[in-house]
Symmetry: D5
Subunit: 167 residues, 10 copies
């Protein structure tokens, strides 16, 4: 994407992380105060999600250090992106490893249980939770919860854009 966009995003994220640091709050604590999932809060503070009008007041009260221009910036649709080197980070690699090694199995189970469709990554929730395993040891639970989207059958009569064009 255009350079200015990337540079601005980096700048804003730097300032948002500063605000979080000053607040002394964890993502979980901000999540509790705002009613959002912990991952979504982290996405908001890294400009990977848009702050919605009805949530802005709750975020402002959770993070009083947040200036108005930052809130305004957070309310714009972000340019979603990531650094390719992120795959080097052991935590991210292992998640990626699971997706690639289990991917075909996950797809087939979705097909069996839902039909020919996918799990949306847009109408989507993600959380990180801590549970105790059967051996009493801590376990990380990452939940991906996305709407089931069936592949549409492309019938001409349902393709509104084409009907109008044909007239």
């Amino acid at each position: 994407m255009e350079r200015g966009v990337k540079a601005l995003k980096a700048l804003v994220v730097g300032r948002l992380q500063q605000v979080k640091l000053q607040s002394g709050l964890s993502y979980n604590q901000i999540a509790e105060k705002t009613g959002l999932t912990n991952v979504y809060v982290a996405q908001l503070l890294r400009r990977q999600a848009q702050l919605k009008p009805h949530t802005a007041p709750r975020l402002r009260s959770a993070l009083p250090q947040l200036s108005e221009d930052l809130v305004e910036e957070m309310m714009k649709p972000p340019m979603r992106s990531y650094d390719h080197d992120l795959i080097q980070e052991p935590t991210v690699y292992r998640l990626n490893e699971a997706v690639m090694h289990f991917g075909e199995s996950i797809k087939e189970i979705i097909n069996e249980e839902f039909g020919d469709g996918i799990m949306s990554a847009i109408d989507f929730y993600c959380s990180v939770d801590k549970v105790k395993g059967v051996d009493g040891k801590d376990r990380v639970v990452v939940t991906f919860d996305g709407k089931y989207l069936p592949h549409t059958e492309q019938r001409s009569e349902d393709m509104v854009s084409r009907i109008s064009k044909e007239k």
Copy 2:
């Protein structure tokens, strides 16, 4: 994906193309007989889409050469894929060129007109049409028509999978 899956897909597509050749019909003609878009018909005959039960009879009557085992195979959710070298084909390259060079502009207009979301490629229609330009010359019109999907705000109270987990 697993080798057998790829090999089987190639085999089935080869047989489907043979059936189409024998029928002497174009994709447009099959589209008309089945009420599907021309691109979707081509996707069906290359195992990139699933044949739905209510459409099977219409396809069978359009292509009487289609054997029952092929129809059965076509009704399974396909493993969607493409050959990387396809990008070498001038037609496909130019479509890709348009998407990459215009992509950021398209995203921004979607943001302005719809909000923070995307055009679904799953609830999606595609057609290829022929029109005369203002200079009277033939033009190719490729229409991409996908449902608008807004990025969800990930609120804990709406994340059903998490609520149940917390109980």
Copy 3:
């Protein structure tokens, strides 16, 4: 391309986006005022297209904040390019996904309906439209409309450059 070119382009785009922001106009609104497609306006303001002399006055009147040196810069043939990471953006990825998964089908339909040729990406129009689907929900329609270019048969007598060389 040469570094200075890239840096200058980034600078100019940054200033053009600033002008648009100050105008408070959307791409659609500028499109209406200038008689251009919405995507083309966005391309102009990102230096991916050349501003033509007869359009300059209309753009100036739509965006009075536009300084003369910016207009002059916009009238030069641009160096067309994109950031590779753009493919990460979900909107752009899904367009790319559609092109690669449907590409071979689109090519074959062009061959059947037009002959052995391609859709030009140079004599080309693109627009983003909003329609209501049969379920009453918003849909994004991206239209690619390019001149059909038949692959020429390379006959020696028609190859002017060679004839002259042979003399």
Copy 4:
């Protein structure tokens, strides 16, 4: 990995899929009969996991078509791998998109809640579930549940292999 290994794996997986097809059971049904997660069953039938001795009888009774040589093969440690093109499949791409776009956030929350460590992909569970969203629509829930592994501090006195070397 060595060619013979890959070819043998493809062959075995082809036969295992055949067995599943003949049984008429879904992954979920086999999971229920064997007490395994649905994803793990799918991994077993694609030779991405090792069949354990105490589970073999249950799998044999769930899939009576399973021949002894297949069971024996399934009990060997597999060579884990995947086809790079799997990323083209829309389902797998979206999971990957989620991991890469949310990855840094997930890492930071793990750091805040657990410390400097990762979610293991080896001491790991994965399941695919179906839930109803707050809008009553079907949702896919993919759960990744891995043991928390703290990065060890590498103290010389605890490095047994070095101590013995120094003696």
Copy 5:
């Protein structure tokens, strides 16, 4: 592209090269007999170009060994492609080197002499010629001769596909 397509193409090219070998003719000799450029003849015999109806008789008479089924196959629009390893061949590498090192200069001269547009690779001629240099030594002359295509200004009123949609 789909596997069968690639395999069939390889098979047909193998047979075409056999025909050429049996004829004992060079590409230049066939070019002379058919009125085509030498490069185009080579493209035809490698299924990188479509044989046109009015040229078929001339090719048949130049290469009497050509069977009817091959001629028929040659008259279909080909799937254009190349092997990536071709870049290893010193001849092809040096052409590529010239294009990449001189590319920006060529673009700028086209802009200065023609305007904001490109050299078409579709309405295009290519030939290989032998000339004597000023030092009397043999030189290879590769001529690329393509139609100049100006980038269109995308005016809404000229976008036929859109007008009809708006009605």
Copy 6:
């Protein structure tokens, strides 16, 4: 990962290397004073590992030039990463060469001696030692010592996160 994170890491590492330079100590000497492996000390001073509270005093006394803000920074979980060009360095290439050429053998021996599992890179020690070979020449010994992690069998009854979800 986010730009600010990378820039900050580079800055901190630059300062830490400066501290080491001023101390005049080698990694081995610091390792001896702190009871850590030599590689781990180097990782700490390049922000690839987290300084633990009980080790901080020993590091401070080994490197009195270390300022408090650096110590604080070192105690945060780092973002682990490396520069891709590192593979060009002959030392690193040869280690990589050994891993890739011997990798399949190492895996098979682990399978034979331990079972279906891996060597953890998280619960892990690494050291570089100097020994005399049988020819009396210096040899470099790099030891990788990681906990054996068996691939878990994913039994539903042991998947705590799923049990709670089902309730």
Copy 7:
């Protein structure tokens, strides 16, 4: 190549382009005044070619704004390079497309007409010309004219470096 070299080249090219802009001359006009091909002039002004002593006076008189230090810099052998993204530019892509799709044919014709050798890209001329096609429309002609270099047969008696070594 080393960073300083790249930075200096970018700086010099920026200044050279400035000089050209001030002169108001096109590459063709400078070519005419200096007796060089238009592409070579453009290469000189982008530091992709070395300015020869006997040409320096002619370039100085064509571009009187050229300072002595720039002329001196231009007389050094340049570090030839290009930006990978240049392939995105439609003009450059289409040249590359032609080379890759026609490459094998060009090689074979060179083999037939010249023998086992290549077209040099070093003893090489390139020009961009404008011609009218048989339809009266403008066409771009890019000519690549390189010395034919036969692959040498490597006879020991002709390998001077080896003979001397053996003595």
Copy 8:
């Protein structure tokens, strides 16, 4: 490398693995019988190392199923190679992760303790061992033991090949 070489290697390795299977011996057991490291035995049986004449008898007696033509084949210098997908295997990935994340530290320690040189991967030993950690759990120890090779200072008087050339 040339195709036949690869195919032959795969064939031979397949047969060697068969021999090992029939023997019922582990790599460790063969290592003990032959006096080789366990990794080296595995390399021999995968044609990644050359069987030396004095070791052939011991290997023959350890693996009596080994036919003479296999022994002969094993005594040729192998073409060393690996499958790129091996990096997907979790065991191999973690070794690679360790090398890349610790690589710069390992290099610096070698520089401090030995000087400006590297660990050879040719005069090299590798073993996999099992030890009990301080917590009594099994640990995998992979030892890389390579000769230290100092980078030579390239003095003309020591460059024998050049001296002879100059004479």
Copy 9:
């Protein structure tokens, strides 16, 4: 390159290696009998060089097992290529390492000693020799000996192809 070409090349090379094996001769011995460099002999027997008519008799007498159809095949201009995985072979990697790490230095010395030009890889000799180092140990000497090719100044009056075109 086209598949048949690759498959044929592999087949021919396999047979040529068989002939060499039967002859019991080393490359050096064949080199001595034919007056070619040892590397060139190896290239001939791997179809990376063309057998010249005056050398064919000498090769036939050195390798009487060589059938006439193989000799004929060897006299055709080869399609030069290599397997990408060759870079994995330690010998080839180290040559490549030397070229890349020393490349810029070699270029600058050529510039200083010869001018703005390159070492040809076409008018080129290569040999592998064995010498004793000053320490009495064996050393491998690889000599690359290529004609110096100066980059031409592209003067219009010397560009024969263009002159004729202008007439």
Copy 10:
């Protein structure tokens, strides 16, 4: 490698090149004054090799402009690296082309003449020389002269690091 290291290296190289420029000496002239090969001098001045204590005085006297801090810097073990784009430079590409196209032949000749081993790139000399070919034309001779390193047989009794571990 870490950013500061790269930036410092670039800075130092820039200063070293400045020193060379001021001295007015060529690499060959410095080589003669210091007794080093010309390539090694160039490597020293680009921080790709370590300046040895006994050579420092000779370099200082050859280049009196060399400041003490530069000499000190040059005496540290360098981080060896190169810019990937270097492969674009025609001189470097042709060397690389030779290595890749001749690589397998060179390996096989080393195997025949020396045994199963490689040419070291560490105990290594490189020079660039100018010779007259049999046609009286200038030729570039690049000599690679590296110690022969046999692949060790990995016998347990010779693996000192393991023996000590077992005790």
